[in-house]
Symmetry: C2
Subunit: 531 residues, 2 copies
């Protein structure tokens, strides 16, 4: 039961109804992960004010808390991209159909999900505003689903000599892929991402860049998002349209499903040939470049929710929390309030002077004219790492009441709000935030490791391994079939609602036969349900 006695002593009376009764811990969300993971996910997004439906088909509005997380991801990823010598540019939103059509596999892969601009003017006709027939474009423009083609054209102008290589570019942009079934952050018609595009003199250089980007994504997911992932190569059927090799990082959600959270592609010379990206080598011979592309998107935010969320909402890793510490004043509409506000003001100033993760700590003093308890639960649902409540009693004692989002309840199910001297809190807040970051990562890592089975060697057992509620993944040995043989495998998996995730880079060597074909295995591959 919640310790309502202590809470009420601070005037914290207005809990949500579902928090006020019952003998077991009740939570801030109406739906638990156990009850309905998909509904829980939507509820977290709504209750944490992260995003909402926009009224525009398949497009979401990203609200301040969700967008704030994206800004943190952008800032920290951008620093890593720049540190690798990659320069940001901006390329057009629109791609002429003819650009797109030059790489056959590529256009096949995207043609079915393209938003197409056909007119450039509206006109009232019979009283109804509609595209003006006289403004029909000679060549339709595709709203970029990805930018290999238009960036390839630019590269063909920029690359002349071996001295111009490697050419390392990136852009932060919105892209559109017309999706029939959308889910916020995970699959939306418009989404935000970064797309790196590079050109190199040799296959080896391009492959090294592909793997550098993959490693950048892996370490970013682990260190910044506290989201453990498996990095590996995607099987042929999961390759980016037009790529020679596609690599991914795969994260495990709390329902056991996989989320592809970032990809890196070695594109060979196909796109270079289509766009004419050639260089003169040191001997004076014209050569085709080898290109790469790599991207992560707002999808990562969906992953963060499903990896770290609990039945009280999101738990936001401190590295990406828009605000890391929230100060909530407990006001009583009495003259003493002024003292509480001044105390909070000073606390906010002191916390703002603390450095954590090599940046100033991000503190918010929440002065909104709403009840303190409503604020507290609002911040719990958003997953602010630390909530500090300050009432008259705290001020009198020189204390603060500290609630950590990674340990919301004590063993008896009471809210684990800890009263501590103000100075001690300021001195230890950096350590606390570091601990929260580490604990979220450790918890997720333990879950990932505990839920990858490696003991399945027969196809019958493979299907059976996914019969439970949260089956996790199975790593099997396989012969890496291609073409029709692979199609048959994929078809069998599809019938069981399974997919091939990737062949982990750090897998053990093979020592058996392919679970699908019985031939000698050549690598290990992860099988799982997925988003």
């Amino acid at each position: 039961m919640l310790d309502l006695g202590v809470c009420l002593a601070y005037g914290r009376g207005s809990y949500p109804a579902y928090l006020q009764t019952g003998d077991t811990v009740k939570h801030a969300l109406a739906t638990t992960r156990e009850q309905d993971f998909a509904a829980w996910y939507q509820e977290v997004i709504a209750e944490a004010d992260m995003a909402e439906e926009s009224g525009v088909r398949g497009c979401m509005v990203i609200r301040p808390w969700g967008y704030g997380i994206w800004e943190r991801i952008q800032k920290l990823m951008d620093a890593r991209i720049k540190a690798a010598g990659v320069e940001n540019c901006y390329f057009p939103l629109f791609i002429p159909l003819s650009f797109f059509a030059e790489e056959a596999d590529h256009v096949d892969g995207f043609a079915k999900e393209m938003a197409v601009v056909t007119h450039h003017r509206l006109k009232a006709i019979d009283g109804t505003l509609q595209p003006d027939p006289d403004s029909k474009l000679e060549e339709p423009l595709v709203v970029r689903p990805t930018s290999e083609t238009v960036i390839g054209k630019a590269m063909s102008r920029w690359v002349q000599s071996w001295r111009d290589l490697p050419l390392l570019t990136n852009q932060w942009a919105n892209v559109v892929r017309w999706e029939m079934r959308t889910r916020m952050f995970l699959r939306t018609s418009e989404f935000l991402w970064q797309e790196g595009h590079t050109a190199h003199a040799t296959r080896d250089d391009a492959m090294a860049e592909t793997l550098r980007a993959l490693e950048m994504y892996r370490s970013f997911a682990e260190d910044v998002l506290a989201m453990p992932v498996v990095a590996g190569e995607k099987p042929e059927n999961e390759r980016f349209p037009g790529a020679v090799a596609t690599y991914s990082i795969e994260a495990m959600m709390q329902d056991g499903k996989a989320l592809q959270a970032g990809t890196s592609h070695y594109l060979g010379t196909g796109f270079a040939e289509a766009a004419g990206i050639r260089y003169q080598d040191q001997e004076g011979t014209q050569q085709l470049c080898h290109t790469t592309s790599w991207g992560v998107s707002t999808r990562m935010i969906g992953g963060v929710i499903m990896v770290h969320g609990d039945d009280d909402g999101l738990r936001c890793p401190p590295q990406i929390a828009p605000h890391q510490v929230i100060i909530v004043p407990m006001l009583r509409d009495k003259p003493e309030d002024a003292e509480v506000l001044a105390y909070c003001e000073e606390l906010a100033r002191d916390l703002g002077a603390v450095d954590i993760f090599r940046e100033p700590l991000r503190v918010l003093f929440d002065k909104k004219p709403i009840k303190a308890a409503t604020k507290r639960w609002g911040w719990v649902k958003k997953g602010a790492p630390i909530i500090v409540e300050v009432g008259g009693r705290d001020v009198a004692g020189g204390n603060v009441s500290v609630l950590r989002r990674d340990g919301l309840y004590d063993d008896n199910g009471k809210l684990a709000s800890a009263i501590m001297p103000r100075g001690d809190f300021v001195a230890s807040v950096g350590v606390m935030l570091g601990e929260i970051q580490t604990r979220l990562h450790a918890e997720a890592r333990e879950r990932l490791l505990a839920n990858i089975r490696r003991d399945v060697t027969e196809i019958g057992a493979l299907a059976g391994a996914f019969e439970g509620e949260k089956p996790g993944w199975v790593e099997v040995q396989w012969a890496r079939p291609t073409g029709d043989a692979l199609d048959k495998v994929v078809e069998w998996l599809k019938a069981h609602k399974l997919t091939l995730r990737n062949a982990p880079m750090d897998a053990e060597p093979v020592d058996g036969v392919c679970i699908f074909t019985g031939e000698a295995a050549v690598e290990r591959v992860l099988v799982g349900r997925s988003y």
Copy 2:
């Protein structure tokens, strides 16, 4: 004549051809501002690698130096926006036609320049890839030219009570306005901007926010872009479609033309009515909100070029220079090169530890495998504030050779490269960058003030005032006519290729009659040619 002797002593032989001969100072660009300002502008953009045509109608590719300047503008503007309590969100790229049609003036203002998405799939028909007729959208989607309508819909969901006000949002986004005649940065079909959108309980609150944003833009232009501007209200004919009042900052280019560099709009209750943005006031009555919107865009970069550029290229204000100090090693393909490189490495480290404008100094050690002189002139054209050249002789003497972009030549027309002790340079680089920022601003401010005439009181003289080459602006007194009377004024001005810019906030009180109508004047207004 250039001091080629000194230069050659450092092995700086490879000047562009036009720099190597002649008795007068020759410059790095082929076209001077005097010769052809428009051609000069395009040449700066090309030679400084800022942007280029993309091959997509009206859309540009923003290259690393141009995009780096935009990133600096974004970072510094975003901090000011956040400091005002405004929260960033992200809203859909696509706006259903029906949303747009709800505000009549608004849709009238934009209907003629809208990119319209009508299909969501491509299909090969008779061997040609084209929009699949079966994928035609029931309702066309407009690619946002601005987001009042879609953000208004969101606000109508978010605002319920007076407690929810003010609602302060902003987004950084791309927008599309189909332009028939485009010019890089100044007028492109797609451009990048921020758009602030706020909702308030009263007219006064909304007007205060409108003017706060205007003042934010004014001080940003002056302090960050070193670009002096005049803030004022636009006349009725120049209002944003649907606005009750539009304010702007106007900057003067070196050819005397005006560039509107930012706008802030008080929208009244029209958009609130169209989108249903209502709140319950403290007495329980439903009220319409008063809304505002305000924006600046990549257009600012065009302004920076035309305010600060000279015949050697851009001069980039240190606050927005992607790199503030460039280190160019003078290598001779000899073993001593290693010493030069090590010396530069250490210099870069020391400079990176300097703080300037409350941020770490941005230093680039340019190690590209091209000739030092080519590098130097490349950075001159880009407008890097300080270029440091280091040769073997500098290393031996513990010196550096410093070239300041704001004082490229001495009085004799020689390159004003100053040899100074390395330690002195590191100790004074912050002051130098501050000086460059201040000097660029002072120079532009002097030009602005010197080129606004206030002595024109007769309409005949007004036309005459613009007959010279770089006529600047004329501030006249007027009666602020509206409707048909204003149309006649605008028509007369148009016939003389003139426009009304704004009524400056800080103008002197009126003391005469309207130059256009002869009625008693009510305010002063700026007349000028414009971009």
